[in-house]
Symmetry: C2
Subunit: 663 residues, 2 copies
């Protein structure tokens, strides 16, 4: 096929995707949501807080984007600058649209749970999540397809450099969104819990807690907008890495260059079909949620197999596609194992002898959990390379893992909506029956959330490695020899980065949470009647603290991440590219290890606490519960701030290096 | 010089070292120690417990040693088998002698503190530590010199293979000693603290606590015997790595092959001179302790400089010697920084908002602390290689860092003796004045202990890297290319090992501590009059639990560590050596990062607790103190079990790989 036909297919499918997104968005927007004044008021407060944060965050980022645009235009060319802006804008847009829809869905789900029952509430929450899933998938496809149309084969600009700039745009926004959102949400969460639950002994989501609205805003900006930007950049990053490798390896064979985008297109179509099935199927809710990922993957594999035969792509590469899709599931199931059943019960048991043993056991679970995942990733790398298309095969595995992002992101975004719906129902005083429904919906999302995390980390590792391979190719490094001390030195320095970065982000959460604790304590002391429920707390003040802290604290880790590869590249002079190669390997390895540990320890602590709260080991208020709360609080920045941010760190570092190499 | 002259010099100096050791040992043995019956009784219990553990541990290891002897003899030859046995035996001997002297010194220090005052007690503790320092240095030199004499240039056996077998002997014993000792000491410590301090509210080292003797035994077998075996293997490992590289690079130039052993010899002489100075100097105690390391290093550098000129070694290599000695100090000072003053005060401050913030802040300190150390290590690798003797230069830096082990180990072993003296004085009821002296002596050892840790980790990293280089040379791998997915897959699998290993060792501490907690609770419940001090607890039962658990739990991590490189080597068939190369790089990087984090977080938590106990933030019993105790308990397995064991893991993995390559 001619390139123009591919462009045609991509634009048609991405437009279909956008149309579906628009439909879903209108559907959620048009649900009647004014039947309860108190609930609407609370939902409005949350929405306002979230929008305020995004607006402020985006204004700060706008300055950085303009600066980066000029910089990239100078060192590359105007097309690179434009591609960067498009990448950054699409990322922000995906986060923004997904978040509006989530805030709408929060309220609608609560009301549905109250007025229409479980299934109805489930469908509304899923609808809310689907907007995020499909806006990410469609915008990604649109951007990549557009770049292909305008720049592939053009003589005026380097195609590789331009798509890399698009990726840098998406990555840099994702980093700030994840770090900023992560700090916001955890500062509010920790602040609310430490004073509310621990000191004042009032329940979660109690409207008397001044930080409660900030906490719910945090779930929107961290778990939803932050995750959207994160997955968007993984999605486009994996495609970009594969394309860069294809441009070199299969020069002139356009079907290989477009294959990664085509995977995204087939994945989007599969996701749409699967969504149709989800909204018409009448069976068990848990089966729907869990089954959808598998259905989408099977549709995707069938479609890809047919397509490969049709355009004549070396069928051995299908092995990589299959492995990639499989690996996401495997890593997800490992994550699920370590954050449920057996391990959790033992962790709860360990909580009986206090907070210290809870922490030790939880860390040891996180450490152990990486073994299976890392071996799975290693096996895919090795098998894909050896048998299915070499480095291109590895990168295709990463792209395949994320191709069905429409549906995996839908079920991923469903979780925070169900969670928030519970919060609103609690604050609006809807009583235990409604809360029971939202709690059940929330718990349904646990396994799928674990799957989603598996996809995020697995694809980050594979994408980073594919980028790394592309980097070595582009930098004209014939070999990155581990017996060369320069490579080793670079590797050690690279390995220190994820630790440094995590140190900064964890401490930022600590700093921000500390301010929140002081403010919440102050309000309980100074506002008369607050504890008795006679006066409303000053929610706005807490929202302000989270907003300001998050925006301030996200800057340093972001700047360090962006600056490090540049400093290594130019600091080592002529040996810069070699040192940077070692740096990349070290930061990828350490980043993946630490990210997996943090995600799984954090998840285990969270679920052990819930397990105890369900009545085991003495239930709520028991010594075991107190110990488990400490673990959960330590796990919060692990799993929602530092851990997920590391995924982006390794990808941003790789894509920046790739850009430096392509200059 | 002819090889025989070198052998002559080595044997003379090692005999001088052994004579000094014997003198020191007799001196500590002959101090009168029967002036207080209660103290003698307690000291006897501790000694008996420690000896029982060592005897049981050594019986188990004897089986493994015999098996390994036959295996090595089969795959290598009888000389390899013998060298292995010598390495293993010397390591056990060093641990044994050092520990006897420490148990003698514990009691003597307590009595000196009671009867003769601070300076006298200080000198006795130092004397006790010096036996460990000098037995390690002398036996190491004797073993290495002996192997050189018998096998260098011999045609009947491969010299490299034989010295590698010696190193494997030292490393494998060190691993089990560190892991076993680490589990023993922390199970007892955590068990004693959780029930005694937290639940029953009785002070540290209170004789009513059934686990208190086990706790003190643990300090001997973990902090003294375990550390002795650890440093012994670092010391000989660094010399072996350098010799292997020299044999290839400087074939026939015996002065280069013997240079690493000569560094050890010069270091031993410098340490003896410095010891003489220590025992005659009349000034400030802290200055004596802190100054001794620097004095020994300066003497060592002067001696080495003179020697290099005398035998005609390329003077540029002196740069590596200097950098190595300097780097140990730098890494030590970084460790010291993160475990004292500023950072500790902030950590104590963070404890005010609870255990969770204490843990988060402590972890973030540990994460941050690696940055400086890793950069220092990277700089040394790069500069040594580029300017001072290439890979040989890197290995010389490692050997130089450890050359003054006689004195660094003396001050390192001094700490636990002062600590244990405090324990005995408490249990014997000597009152606060004596305790005040021992506490002061203990705190004097803090900075030097940090320095010692810096040397241990820094040298482990450099030694592992030198081994890694020697491995690549021996395995005839022309390049270990990071763009080869096999190398990457190996690197990822290697990176997962330190996490897996730490997970196992941390959980072992948890398991053993759990049993101890149950037993201590049982005794407080079932023994009438125990709490009132009218009945003696069943110390023996607690000692048994620690002993059995430690011996049982040390097996799995040890076996995994030994088996992994063998499996990788043969599991990957013909590509085994390349995959193993990647594996080594990954496990070294992840191991160093994790070991540094654990050591420094653990140290910070420990000192933050002590800082609060000194009366800050409400002092003992305050909420901040309770939070700090949680951190300290989490830090225990970090800094005394998993962290230090990782140092050995990376070296044992490297030396095993080197042996596999030399086959």
């Amino acid at each position: 096929m001619e390139p123009i036909y591919y462009s045609f297919v991509f634009s048609i499918i991405s437009l279909i995707g956008l149309a579906v997104t628009a439909l879903l968005f209108l559907k959620i927007k048009n649900i009647k949501k004014d039947s309860n004044k108190r609930a609407s008021h609370i939902a409005d407060l949350i929405k306002l807080g979230a929008m305020t944060f995004l607006r402020k965050e985006y204004s700060i980022l706008a300055v950085a984007i303009v600066a980066a645009f000029f910089l990239l235009t100078m060192v590359s060319n105007i097309y690179g600058g434009i591609a960067y802006i498009v990448g950054a804008t699409f990322s922000m847009l995906a986060g923004y649209i997904g978040m509006i829809s989530a805030t709408e869905a929060n309220l609608a789900t609560t009301l549905a749970a109250k007025e229409k029952g479980e299934r109805s509430a489930f469908l509304v929450a899923l609808l809310g999540g689907s907007v995020m899933g499909f806006v990410v998938a469609s915008l990604g496809l649109l951007g990549l397809g557009g770049l292909f149309y305008f720049f592939y084969g053009s003589t005026s600009a380097d195609f590789v450099q331009i798509i890399t700039c698009f990726g840098i745009g998406a990555s840099s926004i994702a980093l700030f969104a994840r770090v900023g959102g992560g700090i916001y949400t955890k500062a509010a969460d920790v602040g609310a819990d430490l004073v509310g639950k621990v000191e004042m002994n009032i329940p979660e989501d109690d409207p008397r807690n001044p930080a409660v609205i900030a906490d719910n805003v945090g779930d929107c900006v961290g778990d939803t907008a932050g995750m959207g930007a994160d997955i968007f950049e993984s999605y486009v990053g994996s495609v970009i890495a594969a394309m860069v490798l294809a441009v070199e390896k299969y020069a002139g064979q356009v079907q290989y260059v477009t294959f990664p985008i085509m995977l995204a297109a087939i994945g989007l179509i599969s996701s749409i079909l699967c969504l149709g099935f989800l909204f018409t199927y009448k069976g068990n809710l848990a089966a729907m949620l869990h089954g959808s990922t598998y259905v989408a993957i099977i549709l995707f594999l069938l479609g890809t197999y047919g397509y490969m035969g049709y355009v004549g792509i070396d069928m051995s590469i299908f092995g990589s596609v299959f492995l990639g899709a499989l690996a996401g599931v495997i890593i997800g199931l490992i994550t699920d194992h370590y954050t449920s059943k057996g391990p959790i019960e033992k962790l709860a048991q360990a909580s009986e002898s206090g907070a210290a043993t809870n922490i030790i056991y939880g860390l040891s679970l996180g450490f152990e959990s990486i073994v299976g995942s890392i071996w799975a990733i290693s096996a895919i790398i090795y098998i894909s390379f050896q048998y299915f298309g070499e480095l291109y095969g590895v990168s295709i595995a990463a792209a395949a893992m994320l191709a069905t992002v429409g549906i995996t992101m839908t079920v991923d975004a469903y979780g925070p909506i169900a969670d928030n719906a519970g919060g609103i129902s609690e604050m609006a005083g809807f009583g235990p029956e409604v809360r029971k429904i939202t709690d059940k919906l929330d718990s349904l999302g646990n396994t799928t959330a674990a799957l989603g995390k598996g996809f995020a980390i697995g694809s980050a590792a594979l994408t980073a490695l594919a980028m790394f391979a592309a980097y070595a190719e582009k930098a004209n490094i014939s070999s990155l020899d581990l017996t060369d001390p320069l490579v080793i030195a670079g590797m050690f320095i690279g390995g220190s980065m994820p630790f440094w970065f995590s140190s900064m982000t964890m401490r930022s959460v600590g700093n921000a949470a500390w301010k929140m604790v002081m403010e919440v304590r102050r309000q309980f002391k100074e506002i008369p009647g607050l504890m008795e429920g006679k006066a409303e707390p000053d929610y706005q003040k807490c929202i302000e603290i989270s907003t300001t802290s998050a925006l301030y604290e996200m800057i340093l880790p972001g700047v360090v991440t962006v600056a490090a590869p540049v400093i290594i590249r130019f600091g080592f002079g002529a040996s810069g590219p070699v040192a940077l190669g070692g740096f990349l390997a070290g930061s990828t390895l350490a980043g993946v290890l630490l990210a997996l540990t943090m995600a799984n320890s954090g998840g285990a602590w969270d679920n052990a606490k819930k397990y105890i709260e369900a009545g085991h080991h003495g239930g709520k208020g028991s010594p075991a519960h107190k110990a488990a709360v400490v673990g959960d609080t330590v796990g919060d920045p692990f799993k929602d701030t530092s851990g997920p941010s590391l995924n982006i760190l390794i990808k941003l570092t790789s894509i920046l290096s790739l850009f430096l190499a392509s200059m």
